[in-house]
Symmetry: C2
Subunit: 305 residues, 2 copies
């Protein structure tokens, strides 16, 4: 099975630096690109990572702060210039709609595709979108404005048919989909062959959770329990805890506590404050709580296998 790939396009916070760009990611899942937040400069980083803008069908915006949305006007315009005709869906807090409407009205008159806005109820943990292969759930976060993270869950793939069993029991091709979907089989002589003998299980469904921006919110751990990969903001090191509390952000130590409590496969931290010069010490701080953690960096691609 193809890996799910997370592409980090920006992992700085609001004040720009030459080290980082504002928040933006692409989750690549079964050939589809789901964009998560859309900071300024996202088009350049997508081009550097050879990611086609036209493959983005859905954009999920966590909250309506500039460093998470100011890449939208340019991206929407460029998609039109590239000849897009497919609908583009934008999910985000209601507060985003006014800006989006003006961008569409003033700069996108007569474009050849539709942009559809879907408000996200940021205080509820619910299924906000699903397609054949994926579910996307909101994760209520605690920031200075309404804010939700996103949990991407691959739907459980169907089991694989064991060809040799199909042949051995002379099962007609017309029955294969039923068996994949869970059916067993009874042969002409009345022998019952259970589903489990006819199939091998598919790889377990994979999952990714994005939590930014938020103050340390222990209840988040329940919602992201057991995900393969968790991106959690860690704007400050723990020695700047007061600053984190004041601005409603998380420290590296606290992000690792969430990862540990949720027992995730791997933690990736980002959304670094412009004041942080030494990210390695934040990594060390997080590792003292939860071992499997890495630092986000623009251009980084992480595969979930």
């Amino acid at each position: 099975m193809e890996p799910i790939s997370l592409h980090i396009l920006g992992c700085g916070s609001a004040k720009p630096t030459l080290r980082h760009l504002p928040s933006a990611q692409i989750l690549e899942l079964r050939g589809k690109y789901y964009m998560i937040d859309c900071g300024e400069g996202v088009q350049t980083t997508m081009q550097k990572s050879a990611l086609s803008m036209l493959k983005v069908g859905h954009i999920f915006i966590s909250h309506n702060h500039g460093d998470h949305v100011f890449g939208l006007p340019g991206l929407i315009s460029t998609m039109a210039l590239l000849g897009r005709t497919a609908q583009l869906h934008i999910h985000g807090p209601q507060e985003l709609e006014e800006f989006l409407n003006i961008v569409l009205k003033v700069y996108c008159e007569g474009i050849d595709y539709e942009v559809l806005f879907h408000p996200v109820r940021t205080r509820e943990h619910y299924l906000i979108y699903e397609d054949r292969s994926t579910e996307v759930w909101s994760i209520p976060l605690e920031h200075r404005v309404p804010c939700a993270g996103f949990l991407f869950r691959e739907k459980q793939p169907l089991p694989h048919i064991r060809r040799e069993m199909i042949e051995a029991f002379n099962i007609p091709v017309s029955q294969i989909n039923n068996i994949k979907a869970g059916a067993s089989w009874t042969t002409e002589d009345g022998t019952f062959i259970p589903h489990e003998r006819l199939t091998t299980p598919a790889a377990p469904a994979r999952s990714y959770a994005y939590c930014s921006d938020t103050r340390y919110a222990p209840k988040v751990a329940e919602m992201v329990k057991g995900v393969n990969l968790l991106y959690h903001e860690a704007t400050f090191p723990h020695e700047m805890l007061l600053q984190a509390k004041k601005t409603m952000h998380t420290t590296a130590h606290e992000a690792a506590l969430v990862a540990k409590e949720a027992n995730v496969g791997k933690l990736i931290i980002g959304h670094y404050s412009a004041r942080i010069k030494d990210e390695e010490s934040m990594l060390k701080e997080a590792k003292s709580v939860f071992t499997n953690v890495i630092l986000a960096q623009e251009g980084l691609k992480i595969d979930i296998i």
Copy 2:
């Protein structure tokens, strides 16, 4: 006298490439930064060129297309984060105001500085702004939407006082400003000393003109006559003349015709189409008409001495 410096921050056109960013420039004149157009990514290029965002007092926007304005929301927000208190003046076509108002209302509530919008009448050639040292004139251009270029004229500096003359004729210090401003002097014994003997002329006032976006408009030459430096868009090579006419852009050949007709000191071409891979051949094309021409490039600084 300090040079006037033009900093190229972006010289691509609307469709982004990895070679160029959308339009943005800083003109540095007697310690002040005048920004001209404000494409997405401008904060990063300013940081790379070590240009302080807080030194920008006035922004001049040629027209309301996304590739000339989508850097504004981020720049305005960042200036607030950097603690700006000084007013910021934005000059541009009336069409820009609606977007600007939403940006200020939605993303800049409670910032500590004022943003003042000054509409530019894009069909008139008139003085739109002046301060102690500089005049800024509009240059009506011909594009698909209302559009004006900008002519920056340094005010003629006052002549230098010849100290030896002041001493020789015992002229009181209180008279020096009068003499600089043009007065002559009559000594106690009635000898008339003309202004020209008491002073040496200052260096001639310098000028810069920015013309983007526009179709080839020969009348522009009159308005930019004799400027030291002309930036003129050259979106296409002349072999794509039909494309240029259709989109209301200029070819490198035509940009050089304007420079030649206006007898400018130096021409710099930019606003390259994303389809152009070979800018050197555009340079060659322009040079066959007007010798002193260079190619714009992000990070390039050109001094007017």
